[in-house]
């Protein structure tokens, strides 16, 4: 049974230029109706879990919600779910949307982890991303988080931003370390199709089209913006790994770093291919071997639950082959890799898997191990540093040999 609960809050003040997630403009009355609806879905799903090890409230921008919404939501958790002895409870917060009272409220509700979307400490880079905050806003948010007594927080950073340099990236990492978060995520900026940033990069325009839910947005660029060179991005990534590791942060997943003892349990569950309950518009669930998605449309979501049904827009029944693939590509995201002995019995490490002519995992990786893209140590199969940066290619090769 799943022991992990994800709550999706699809509201933002405005959409960032690079974001392809579903979100709608924040509106207090809609948010309140939405929280009521979340509670309805939680009640319908209360028997899905025996005991919860983690709750993660993500978005969108959950920190936009008024305090009473959090109070209502947590009351609903208590009334319907059993929490394990020391659950990890995370809320995502964006600078510029958090005040002292928010943090105090969250702490009083036993939230014990904050994930702060800072992205950069350079205002020009933040502008390029279309973020609503400034570097000062970010510092203030961290300051009040700490002052309120929330010592366990994570900071998100982005590299590969148009205009970013090695120096500016180094400064952002240094500034982050100075704030001594327990956890740091560094994401390469991924240019997703159908985002304003993508359109801007593809076209010859200097100014981005006004992003959704803002009228007359005026943040033109003075020059045509370009994605940084591949080699520079690679250098930024390697620098983050080297520097953060040197500062005592453990690199435990492709994009995640932590001080000892502060790994994000909730996210590790995804990479271990554990089950989870998702609640909210557009939330994904993995329950009883079935992956499903709730309808993204907030109004549709509310309407359905008013009628007592959960609006699932899609659900995927996984074949054995899909399952094997998931174990591999998710597991290899962790630097410790896949613990071979913990794989389910249908992925035999050595014997040939005869259904569908699937070879054993170890046979399939032997050449990739010989060529130095994968390594096997103490029963763990993992990507080497050389394999990590081209992990998709390595994984696809492994798929080809397995199937």
């Amino acid at each position: 049974m799943p022991e992990f609960l994800y709550i999706h809050i699809p509201f933002c003040i405005r959409k960032c230029l690079y974001c392809d997630f579903f979100s709608v403009p924040y509106d207090e009355s809609l948010a309140k109706a939405y929280i009521d609806t979340l509670c309805k879905e939680l009640i319908l799903k209360k028997d899905y879990a025996k005991s919860l090890k983690s709750i993660y409230i993500g978005g969108g921008t959950p920190s936009l919600l008024p305090d009473e919404c959090f109070i209502q939501l947590f009351r609903c958790f208590r009334d319907n779910f059993h929490l394990s002895s020391s659950p990890e409870i995370t809320v995502e917060a964006n600078p510029g949307t958090v005040n002292e009272s928010t943090i105090t409220t969250l702490l009083s509700l036993s939230v014990n982890r904050l994930s702060i979307g800072i992205q950069s400490f350079h205002n020009d880079e933040l502008r390029t991303l279309g973020r609503i905050h400034t570097s000062d806003n970010a510092l203030q948010t961290v300051e009040l988080t700490r002052r309120a007594g929330m010592g366990n927080f994570s900071i998100d950073l982005i590299y590969g931003i148009p205009g970013q340099t090695m120096d500016s990236w180094h400064q952002s990492i240094s500034e982050t370390i100075r704030l001594s978060p327990t956890h740091i995520s560094t994401y390469e900026l991924t240019l997703e199709e159908k985002t304003p940033l993508y359109e801007l990069i593809q076209s010859d325009e200097i100014n981005p089209p006004s992003p959704p839910f803002i009228k007359g947005g005026t943040w033109g660029f003075s020059n045509k913006i370009r994605m940084p060179d591949e080699e520079l991005i690679l250098e930024m990534y390697n620098h983050a790994i080297d520097f953060l590791t040197a500062c005592g942060y453990e690199h435990y997943e492709v994009s995640n770093f932590t001080l000892p003892g502060f790994r994000c349990m909730h996210n590790l569950n995804y990479w271990d291919r554990g089950e989870y309950i998702g609640v909210g518009a557009g939330a994904h669930s993995f329950v009883s071997g079935l992956r499903s998605i709730n309808s993204e449309d907030v109004n549709n979501y509310i309407e359905h639950l008013n009628n007592g049904t959960i609006p699932e827009s899609e659900s995927t029944k996984l074949t054995t082959l899909d399952t094997v693939k998931e174990f591999i590509f998710l597991g290899l995201r962790k630097t410790e890799g896949i613990i071979i002995n913990k794989l389910p019995p249908f992925i035999p490490p050595l014997a040939r898997w005869d259904r569908g002519g699937c070879y054993s995992l170890l046979n399939a990786c032997s050449e990739l191990v010989d060529d130095g893209y994968l390594e096997i140590e103490n029963g763990n199969l993992r990507l080497t540093k050389k394999g990590l940066v081209i992990s998709n290619t390595v994984i696809v090769k492994l798929f080809e040999r397995l199937m």
Binding site: A283, T393, V396
Partner: protein
């Protein structure tokens, strides 16, 4: 009886309206009602219709009551419209006494008009000129007539003005067929002599042979044999196409129809062969039979090795229906097990490849098409090289096939066309005006040079106005060398090609540059080299893949990211692994894109 039969073909340049005219004749004579008419009945294969060309010849019997009150049997024998099939065209024409020469009134005389008209004259056919598409605003019938008279030398004073599309002139055409085209000669009492002008394999009835009976008579129960191959068969059925298949009691001298005789493969019924009576054989076969040889070869390989058997079965099935294409197993170091296949020409090759992929759901990899080179070894032994990688290290002489090429174009475009022929190692043989503003040039060109982009370039140089046709001349000595391509130091046999020495450096450079664009980045650097013998003449490299990683993967991303990886894996399925390097199909055809 014979005097009321007329056997005729329609000859035309592509798109001059041959199929539409055939439809109109069928409709007018009531062979098919307007409702039954699916457009262009004679082009029955899907592929033919899609490409707008006629590949296989067919024969249809039309019944026509002429103005003189007599009933006539008109046998329309359709001809393929592409130079790849010129032998088949010649056999269809040999089965006729006359031909309608259809020329588009706005386009005028084109290269295939000439080639087909000359062929008809060679066969002593009565030619009835038809100026088609006179309804078009750009039509200029007088100019077109003048061009026909100039270029072909036939009188056009009573050429029929027609529009097949609008049904104009249909009756006049039918009357002219009756009046101008002679009735067939021949004796029903003589020993059987029937010319095969088409044959195909039918899943239910075996091989169906289309014949023109010159002498004698054939009916069910007779023992027959094709004279060139000599196997004996017993006729089970004879009939005609109306255009529906209809049984008749017999086919006699002068008539056109089909024979079914329990024949298992079209290799027994080669086009141009003569069928005769086993018990009372003809002395001589009909003249003009040739065992035609494929001109263009390529290697066909399954993209996944375990489809080898499926490919062999599919080739075998297609061969049942097409004796002009051949195949034999070959092994490539780079591509594994496959087949070396020979075709009449590039179009023929494209058609077979497309049918293999479409009708047999095969995923194929083909090497670049090549002509057949003739090599004399130092010991005087002669080799025919159909696969460039097999060119021996030492030889006395190398020869390549040459073709006589005829190009027609408006005079404004002639400059660049001459430059193109020059570039392709052509030797000019003639230069003549046809009418006031069209020019006909004849060149002798190596077949190899006109195989791939020549026609496309000719078309684009002339804004589509130039047309061309060619015929095989023979082998001529040429200074040829083998150009090898090496990937990370290993020769890839499937990428080897034979080139003229003067062009080798240029081609080597172009080819490595092109391969650099085509070969995707891999986990390691890929070094691409071109070499003549041991001498490296060009070098490029594809940088190793540096970064390919999914930045973010949480609960909501898993299915999407799995699909992303699967897509990446699918993309690789179509690649062929040569050593450790993965090559897309385009790599093997890259040589074609090099000028």
């Amino acid at each position: 009886m014979n005097k009321n039969i007329r056997n005729f073909s329609i000859i035309a340049h592509i798109d001059h309206g041959k199929s539409t005219l055939a439809d109109r004749l069928l409709e007018y004579t009531g062979a098919l009602s307007a409702q039954e008419m699916t457009e262009q009945v004679l082009d029955s294969m899907d592929l033919e219709r899609e490409r707008g060309i006629t590949i296989k010849a067919h024969a249809v019997r039309l019944l026509y009551k002429a103005d003189n009150g007599n009933d006539y049997i008109l046998n329309l024998i359709d001809t393929p419209g592409h130079v790849d099939f010129s032998y088949e065209v010649s056999r269809s024409l040999a089965s006729c006494e006359g031909a309608l020469l259809v020329v588009d009134a706005s386009q005028g005389v084109e290269a295939q008009t000439l080639a087909n008209a000359y062929l008809a004259i060679e066969h002593n056919l009565e030619i009835v000129p038809v100026i088609n598409k006179i309804d078009l605003p750009s039509a200029s019938p007088e100019k077109t007539k003048e061009q026909i008279e100039d270029a072909i030398g036939i009188d056009c004073s009573d050429a029929i003005l027609a529009s097949a599309k609008e049904g104009i002139g249909t009756k006049e055409i039918l009357e002219a067929i009756v009046k101008k085209i002679p009735s067939p000669k021949g004796e029903s009492t003589k020993p059987l002599k029937a010319l095969i002008f088409d044959s195909w394999f039918d899943n239910y009835q075996g091989v169906i042979v289309l014949v023109r009976v010159f002498d004698g008579k054939v009916k069910a129960g007779k023992k027959i044999k094709p004279m060139a191959t000599g196997s004996v068969f017993e006729v089970s059925q004879v009939g005609i196409f109306s255009p529906k298949m209809e049984l008749v009691e017999s086919l006699s001298s002068g008539e056109v129809g089909y024979i079914i005789a329990g024949i298992k493969s079209v290799t027994d019924t080669k086009i141009g062969d003569t069928i005769t009576d086993v018990d009372n054989p003809a002395q001589e076969p009909c003249p003009g039979y040739k065992d035609i040889k494929p001109m263009v070869f390529c290697g066909l390989y399954p993209t996944t090795p375990h489809h080898y058997e499926n490919l062999r079965d599919a080739l075998n099935k297609l061969r049942l229906n097409d004796s002009s294409f051949i195949y034999e197993p070959e092994t490539s170091l780079a591509l594994g097990f496959g087949f070396r296949c020979g075709f009449l020409g590039l179009l023929h090759m494209e058609i077979i490849k497309e049918r293999l992929e479409r009708e047999f759901s095969l995923s194929l990899l083909s090497t670049a098409p090549t002509v057949v080179y003739r090599v004399t070894k130092t010991n005087r032994e002669i080799l025919y090289i159909e696969n460039p990688s097999l060119l021996p290290e030492k030889y006395e002489t190398t020869e390549e096939p040459f073709v006589a090429t005829t190009i027609l174009a408006p005079k404004d475009f002639i400059g660049p066309i001459l430059d193109l022929c020059q570039e392709k190692r052509g030797v000019q043989k003639s230069f003549t005006f046809i009418g006031k503003d069209r020019i006909k040039v004849e060149y002798e060109l190596p077949l190899n040079e006109i195989l791939w982009d020549f026609y496309d370039r000719l078309k684009s140089l002339s804004k589509g106005y130039a047309s061309m046709d060619y015929e095989f001349l023979g082998y001529r000595e040429s200074n040829l060398v083998k150009l090898n391509i090496l990937l990370n130091g290993e020769v890839v046999d499937a990428l080897s090609l034979i080139v003229h020495k003067d062009k080798a450096y240029y081609k080597g450079r172009e080819l490595t540059e092109r391969l650099k664009e085509i070969i995707p980045r891999q986990m390691f650097e890929v070094l691409i080299q071109a070499a003549i013998g041991n001498k490296i003449i060009a070098r490029e490299s594809v940088r190793a893949l540096r970064k390919d990683v999914i930045a973010k993967c949480y609960g909501g991303d898993i299915t999407r990211k799995r699909k992303l990886l699967e897509k990446q894996k699918e993309g690789k399925k179509r690649m062929k692994k040569v050593g450790k390097v993965e090559l897309p199909q385009e790599a093997f055809l890259a040589v074609l894109k090099v000028k």
